[in-house]
Symmetry: C2
Subunit: 595 residues, 2 copies
Amino acid sequence: MPKVFVEPIGITLTVDEQENLLDGLVRAQIDIPTDCAGRGTCGKCLVRLGAGELTAPTERELKRIPEKLRAEGWRLACQAYPRSARVSIEVRGTAGQRRILTTSKLTHGASHPAVCTRRVQLEAPTLADKRSDLERLDQGLGGVEVPLHVLQELPATLRDGKWKVTATCYGKRVIDVHPGERERECYGVAVDIGTSKVIAYLFDLRAGALIDQEAVENPQMRYGEDVISRIAHAAQHNETALLAAAVRDGINANLKALYERQDIHVNHVCDMTVVGNTAMHHLALGLSPVGLGQAPFAPAAAEPLTLRASELGIDMNPDGGVHFPPPIAGFVGSDALAVVAATHLAGKKKPSMAIDIGTNTEIALAHDGRVTVTSCASGPAFEGYQIRNGMKAVAGAIERVKITPDGEATEIVTIAGAEPIGICGSGVVDLLAGLVHAGVVDKSGRMQLDHPRVRKGEEGNEYLVTEGPHGDIVFTQHDVRSLQLAKGAIHAGWELLMASLEVPLEQLDTVYIAGAFGNYLDLSAAQYLGLFPPVETKRVAFVGNAAGVGAQMALIDARARKRMARLRDRIEFLDLATDKRFLDVFSSRLGFASD
Amino acid sequence: MPKVFVEPIGITLTVDEQENLLDGLVRAQIDIPTDCAGRGTCGKCLVRLGAGELTAPTERELKRIPEKLRAEGWRLACQAYPRSARVSIEVRGTAGQRRILTTSKLTHGASHPAVCTRRVQLEAPTLADKRSDLERLDQGLGGVEVPLHVLQELPATLRDGKWKVTATCYGKRVIDVHPGERERECYGVAVDIGTSKVIAYLFDLRAGALIDQEAVENPQMRYGEDVISRIAHAAQHNETALLAAAVRDGINANLKALYERQDIHVNHVCDMTVVGNTAMHHLALGLSPVGLGQAPFAPAAAEPLTLRASELGIDMNPDGGVHFPPPIAGFVGSDALAVVAATHLAGKKKPSMAIDIGTNTEIALAHDGRVTVTSCASGPAFEGYQIRNGMKAVAGAIERVKITPDGEATEIVTIAGAEPIGICGSGVVDLLAGLVHAGVVDKSGRMQLDHPRVRKGEEGNEYLVTEGPHGDIVFTQHDVRSLQLAKGAIHAGWELLMASLEVPLEQLDTVYIAGAFGNYLDLSAAQYLGLFPPVETKRVAFVGNAAGVGAQMALIDARARKRMARLRDRIEFLDLATDKRFLDVFSSRLGFASD
């Protein structure tokens, strides 16, 4: 049955061929607007075809869809039926429907993959032409490198195909030759290794289209929640190999799910790009991250590297390539480079900033031809970790809460509408900003015991958010302090970066907020806390997983790899660890008063 | 205890440090001349130092050894004691002492190995210099390629060595980095894969010196005695992989013996060159030889190839290189190229020929800047195979026999003086030439029943050579026919080659006879049969395993690999299979009359 990948939600539906797209979307509980019960008259259930084939537009569609939209590929879901094994569509206005942590509003650009398929008709040997099989292929393809195991199959393949063969090449390397001229399927995967999540995007490289995606928890979580504790673990126990195996397992787990769901053969996946912070980059390569844990924080490798999948134990075509864009510095990884590339920051005419909030927050600022990045250790508090009742953004997490002027918690919204069991990152921001605004937490961060919802808990004062089915959900003094440290570091980061490039606040044009965290955030609350520069709301763009988009750019366009390598060499690094101004600015930004 | 490698015998002695070289040689039953019982007065026990160290020359040596010989490195074995772990010496006049099948009188030339050791002192990272470890090494070595597993060890190695390290490079590829500046041992192995034997020569690449050698029977013998039957086996049973594994096992068996005897670590063997006929070349690479078994006999690969040892499953440093000089044609392998290179045939001023007799006999002729080779299917008869009482050249084989003018067999010499159990190649030539000369076999090859030693056997007439302890040793009519076919093919080969290059017999300057077979041959008997062109005896040079020397040249001098590749492109191939003259010349050379 046809599979329909739905962007930007990032899920795949299996749709009966007798079933139109609207039926499939409704069955999957995706809330798509429709007023005519699927009769094709309201013209609201618009979806845009990305890849694959649908039935031809009906007369009702021709009547209901404006010509401009039709030209862009928009269709009515109620009128369209899948007509290819895989279809990718885009839906509109689905924010809040599901947790979408892996998609982005940025686009991955044009397709020019490193892998290409080439058909050749070679001449058969004769008594007068005894060139070797290898020489024939080499001349037919115009100079290639043939790995031993491909060479070993070559004599039989050439004769099976009566000297007409189709070769799959990774750059100059021939990774497969098969008889005849049928083009094989050819896929690639862009991987973003986050500290807590490993995300994989599956592309059909021939179509240049995203066809599915998958995310798993980073299996390294068992060695520590943050990068520093994992580096310490690797150093103390000499267990680089274990940590490296965990990253590889995470990538392979994603691949397994994608292959099963899409019914793809492992040998047809020929290319991969991998981005991540420098520690993840090192561990994915099996390199010890120990040097990253101590001054002067020199990386083991910071060059663009392309390896064969077999060298890394990645479950794809063993001769396929795995490309690692270069990290920028010890604490600024290739994911930060990918964000700068995906936001096209370096090409902006006006000063622009990109912020990727996470356990380590990277901030990049471009101005007047210069791009400078910095990194601040913000800790995992804004991701819901190390917060008493913090949790990941899954069902039951409080993602929105309003604090009234007298300090009451109202309008509590949980993910999936489930009974509240904890607070995720966006809920934490709402809480902190609301409590500061209401004066329940003062400008220095002290929680006021005289408020009726504040009580003495085991670890100091705590604010009762709500009573959940599994017990009280509280927000503690300690939580406030953790968040203060994080926001102080981030605030100091963008402030010093702007000072370095001499960009006054009023000149700052666009602020791109990357990362899963930003996607569900109340911008005004975040700005109130000083997490982001206080620019007009319209100048802030939440771009989702921009690092993933950078990895996708490099995947589908081999030229982008070179551009990213050159970009990396242009990027300057502002080292807060050695910047004399940092401690002063950091201290003054811990509080909530002077913003 | 020091190990002493003795050339040209090709054995290794273990010598106590208190023991002089003469004691060691005598203990190993090597018959070295001495008249003074080791007192240093007769001056006869001359040996020449090749590699390693001996004690300084004594006063007796200074008195007894002429200055010219001293300058060439000659010493008295009774006065010299080893002073290094490995010593290589050359002895004189030991022909007939042992079966020496693997050495050659040709020399392997100057040393310029593909593997080199380089020490570098790198700068430690500072807060101002955060270049990656990889970048430091790359810049320190001036641009190198670092395999993943070397990169994975690099951070620890650089810090262990306090940024002073020693790298072993195979060309641009770094195959090992270790802390400090101690240079590691570095060995290479030249391999000659014959149809019946796999021979390995172990070199100390730093000294450029041969230190040991080993030979095993080609494990493919179980799939057929000759190349054609093995190709047929591969084709019928689709068993290329099995045949390929057999070659690899043969190489690895040699390596194991060498490593154990010389106490060498597998990782210290970093380079290998492999020559062989085209079928062996293909099978060593795991390539199907099937194309070589049918017209137009196109090889799967005929380019110079350099692979990593790990790709081939060779037991040496996994990142070390294994270089295959190119074969010339379907039936003219890289061993023939190696013979042409080792004899420097292409550079000869006067017309010169090289003949490598085997199951397949390759003949090369150089004249006036052209080099042409041909190949004739001579069968294994001259190697003692497919001869009723034929056997390999081991103890008990009749290697010399004289036939009196009245057809009696006398002066029978067996290898190691053992009781006769069969006849090896050189004995077969003596027998056939003698019987033809005596008229027991007539010019057409018919054995005359009227001779008292000729009787009717199960398969026709047979000549009783001698009565051995295990039964009569006979030479049959069928044996004569097998040898006629072989000699007819060889004779037609060199005759047509000379016709092609328009070289009259009287202009032919030197004939190099390569291969184990030639080493023990009665030249006049062979010439009488027409195996070699009838030039003066002094113009014939038995050069032993010249193919092995070619492999050694390529091993110890990376530049020789390029020279051999260029040489290969220059060499013309005379294809007897399609030459219209062949059948006529072959038929007329079957008999023994018109020579």
